[in-house]
Assembly symmetry: C2
Homo-oligomer: 157 residues x 2
DNA sequence: TATTGTTATACTCTATAACTATA
DNA sequence: TATAGTTATAGAGTATAACAATA
C-alpha cells in the first residue's frame, strides 16, 4: 500500500470526460488516502481556529460530557499525563476549566467555558463544511452509499 | 459533527442481529470517524515498527523516488525546515541517506537504505493487513463499493 | 536575486517514571 | 493498597525567521 501521497498540492489528474470512472486504488490505498485527506481537512480547520486536531477533539468530547482526566484520556487514547498538559494549555486560553469533583477529593471535572463552547461549535461547523466539500464531486447517491458504508465500517459492522 | 469518539476502547454496540443495518452517521461523522479509525490503525502499525505515522509516510514516499528536501516537504505538506529534522532522525537510524545532487550544488537527494526499504516494505504490508482487518465485517460487495467510492473521492472525482 | 537547505528558537504533543493526595 | 491527578524529564514533530551556499 502507499502511505504517501495525498499531498496538499497533488498534480491534479486531467479533467476526465464525464462518465470516466477513476482508477480503483484498492481498498487499502483508497482508505489510507481518504483518511489523510480527511485528516488534512480537519487539521486545516483546526489551525484556522487556532487549534490542533487533538484540541479540536478534546473540545468535541466536552460538548456533551464533564469527564474526569482519566476518562478523557481514555476517550482520546492518551496517557493521563498527556492530558494534564493538553487540558492546562486549553485552560490557559479559557476554553475549559477544571472543577473539583464533589464526590471524590482526588478527581476533577473538566467542562467547557462559554468561549470554549462557541469555539467548538464554530470549528465543528467549519469542519463539517470542509468534509462535505471533499465529497462535492460525488453524486447524491454516491454520497449516501459512502455514508452508509463508512457508518457500517465504523460500527464494526 | 463529532470530532470526538472512535476511542481506542469504545463501548461496542450490542451485537446486532444479522441483517440489522447500522445507524447512518451522516457523511460528515462517518468520514471523520473512519479517518480516525484508519489513522489509529496506521499509528499502531507504525509504532510496532518503531516509527511514527509521518516517518512511515516518509519511507513510503521514498519507495519509488529520490526527491530533494523541498519536494519531500511538498509531498508531506510540511515546511522545508521541518523536513530537516525528520530526515536527520531517519538518517541517524540508517533508514535513509542524503546524497549531494549531481546537478545542483545546493540540493541533496534523499534515498532509502536497504534497511529503510526493508522496514518500509514490512510496515506497509502490516498496515495493509490492519486496514483490511477494519473492513473484515463488510461483505465483498460492500468492500468493492467502498473502495470505488473512496477512490473516486480521492481522485476529486 | 532567487532557490536549496540548515540552524536557532519556541511551542505543542506524547510517554515513562516518580510523586502527592485521597479513597 | 489502589486510584486520580500532577510533575519531571526526554524526545518527536512542527513552524517562523534568519542564515549560507549555490544558481
Amino acid at each position: 500500500m502507499s502511505t504517501d501521497d495525498v499531498p496538499p498540492d497533488e498534480a491534479l489528474p486531467e479533467a476526465a470526460p464525464a462518465g470516466t470512472p477513476p482508477p480503483d486504488l484498492g481498498i487499502v490505498d483508497a482508505l489510507a488516502q481518504m483518511s489523510f485527506l480527511v485528516q488534512g481537512a480537519l487539521g486545516k480547520v483546526a489551525a484556522d481556529h487556532g487549534l490542533s486536531v487533538i484540541q479540536l477533539r478534546l473540545l468535541g468530547v466536552l460538548r456533551d460530557r464533564e469527564p474526569g482526566m482519566q476518562e478523557l484520556a481514555r476517550h482520546l487514547g492518551l496517557d493521563k499525563s498527556s492530558m494534564t498538559g493538553l487540558v492546562t494549555r486549553a485552560e490557559r486560553r479559557d476554553l475549559l476549566r477544571r472543577t473539583p469533583s464533589p464526590d471524590d477529593g482526588r478527581a476533577v471535572r473538566v467542562s467547557l467555558t462559554p468561549q470554549g463552547r462557541d469555539l467548538a461549535r464554530a470549528a465543528e461547523a467549519a469542519a463539517a463544511g470542509e468534509i462535505r466539500a471533499l465529497t462535492a464531486h460525488l453524486t447524491g447517491a454516491q454520497r449516501t452509499q459512502l455514508s452508509l458504508l463508512a457508518s457500517t465500517l465504523v460500527a464494526r459492522g
